[in-house]
């Protein structure tokens, strides 16, 4: 069946992962990186953009090759594609954003093992045409990215009083200069990322309903 570029089905591919099928809050994938690099918005943004790039390219490439890849070695092929893309991203970051790359250190390399990417390659790109795979990749990567940015927003704002490195709370508020305010150190520690993600999941589930219940109904 021929469908238009932005048919209802294709739009759903793009919009579902942003909310109802969000890779982090619903499928609970890619949590490690969400905990590790959300201390500052800048890191989270670079990470999110890297993942968008790697995921879109990998999904498109695997989808293009899907009829050629022997199914016995498909994981190896996927890994080769993803890791070459990741090395490419890493090199670009080293060249143009060396300080961010230094902070992200191993986590750029660990995109290779990000379960969201492997999951989409296995579950979607291997069985779908180029255009839907492209949309699916964009949807999932942005679904991952916006959670990352949301978590980083709260962690950076409350943990260091900054956004993208710029001071938000005026200096006069701080105790050192006569105010009362103190930054929340717990926000900088990894457990708080887990709690912030948990709160986002809580809000989402109380607004919609539990995905487990939806599964039972279907």
């Amino acid at each position: 069946m021929k469908s238009t570029l932005f048919s209802k089905k294709n739009r759903k591919l793009l919009s579902d992962p942003l909310g109802d099928q969000n890779p982090i809050t619903i499928q609970v994938l890619g949590i490690c990186s969400a905990l590790a690099i959300t201390v500052q918005l800048q890191q989270a943004l670079v990470m999110a953009m890297s993942v968008v790039f790697v995921m879109v390219c990998a999904n498109v490439i695997i989808s293009a090759l899907r009829n050629v890849i022997p199914s016995r070695i498909r994981i190896i092929v996927q890994l080769v594609v993803v890791s070459s893309l990741v090395v490419f991203v890493d090199q670009v970051l080293q060249a143009f954003l060396p300080d961010v790359q230094e902070k992200l250190s191993v986590f750029i390399g660990l995109i290779v093992s990000n379960c969201i990417i492997m999951g989409r390659l296995e579950a979607f790109a291997l069985g779908n045409k180029l255009w839907p795979s492209f949309l699916d990749a964009i949807g999932n990567a942005i679904g991952y990215g916006w959670i990352l940015l949301a978590v980083a927003f709260f962690r950076e704002l409350l943990g260091s009083g900054k956004l993208f490195g710029y001071q938000v709370f005026p200096d006069g508020w701080y105790e050192a200069s006569g105010g009362f305010y103190l930054n929340n150190n717990l926000m900088i520690l990894p457990p708080m990322a887990l709690i912030v993600v948990g709160i986002i999941i809580w809000v989402q589930r109380s607004r919609k309903s539990f995905p487990e219940e939806l599964l039972e109904e279907n």
């Binding site: 103190l182 709690i195 948990g198 809580w202």
Partner: protein, 402 residues
Amino acid sequence: MSFLRNTLNKIKPHFLKGGKLEKLYPAYDAFETFLFVPNHTTITKCHVRDSIDLKRTMGTVILALIPCLIFGCYNIGYQYYSQFDPSFITQNFNGFFNLFLYGLMKVFPMIVVSYGVGLSIEFAFAVFRKHPVNEGYLVTGMLIPLIFPIDCPLWIVALSVVFAVIIGKEVFGGTGMNILNPALLARGFAFFAYPTKLSGDKVWVSQGSTDTISGETALGELATLVKDNVSEAHVNDVLSNFGSDGSYSLLNSFLGFIPGSIGETSVVAVLIGAGILLLTGLGSWRIMFSALIGGFFMASIFKFWGANPFMELNPIHQLCIGGFMFAIVFMATDPVSAAQTNTGKLVYGFLCGFLGIMIRVFNPAYPEGIMLAILFMNVMAPLIDHYVVQASIKRRMNRINI
């Protein structure tokens, strides 16, 4: 009395079904049952019931906390005036009253903030989730001020309460469902989020108008002994404080005339509270007893090992300083987050005490380890219960097979 009853009766229709304030019924219900014994009748099959309900349980625990609170207030005044103007302390009755009032003025705002913030969240959740307000917060609200340092800013107290009630309790479904002890969670939150306000030598003694008063807790003082490059003179200096004439002597630590969190310093006051809990059967003697044994056991091992001056402290003295006694009597015995089986309680209590002393001595960055030990054991409690139940089943199965 009849005035209250009449007022309640008059406003009741507004809260019933169809009334203007129907949504706020849980809030009304909470006030009514708080003021008067509810005339609810049993509607399910089980008719034999203990007359004690959650409100009275909580009331008794608060009663058990009163000695700690009173002594805490007095000690705050004592610590302040002993640096600021020692002549106050020597006046007999008048002196006592001055010290107590000074402390009360400092502690009262914390209690108000703790109850105000905590109960409003409880009410909000009760209204939103349409269930009656639970009384679980009554004890937590009293415990939280007692385990904070006196100079902790009120907004930090409020924020910790918010965190403890929402993340510690409401996300799990409210009173009786929490995994961790909410009061300890509040302190844990504040401890990690605002370390400068929860540790160090500036926060334990009320600052008053001047900013020069400092007082280290006994544990903070001891923790300086295990750092690298400690001079011999410093070690002797600190240890002399723990001698029979020093400010942290065994007697002072036992009576509670040492800097520390508001309610934790006096072992005597804690023991009175423990007596009330044990007499009324609300606190588990198994947990208190085994935690004491666990702490003593670990302290004795350290004494025997003696790798540094901190370890060489007399085990009894070790148990009397810091919040150890307060925590094992009021926190470890929390019936919700502790182990439920009798054998489990013994294991749970023992490990609380054991780990508490271990963390305290091994990690000078966490001067009071009992908080982390109890939080950790709260998480482990279901596991302990599981194995106790499994062992019991196995034993009985063996009996059948013979």
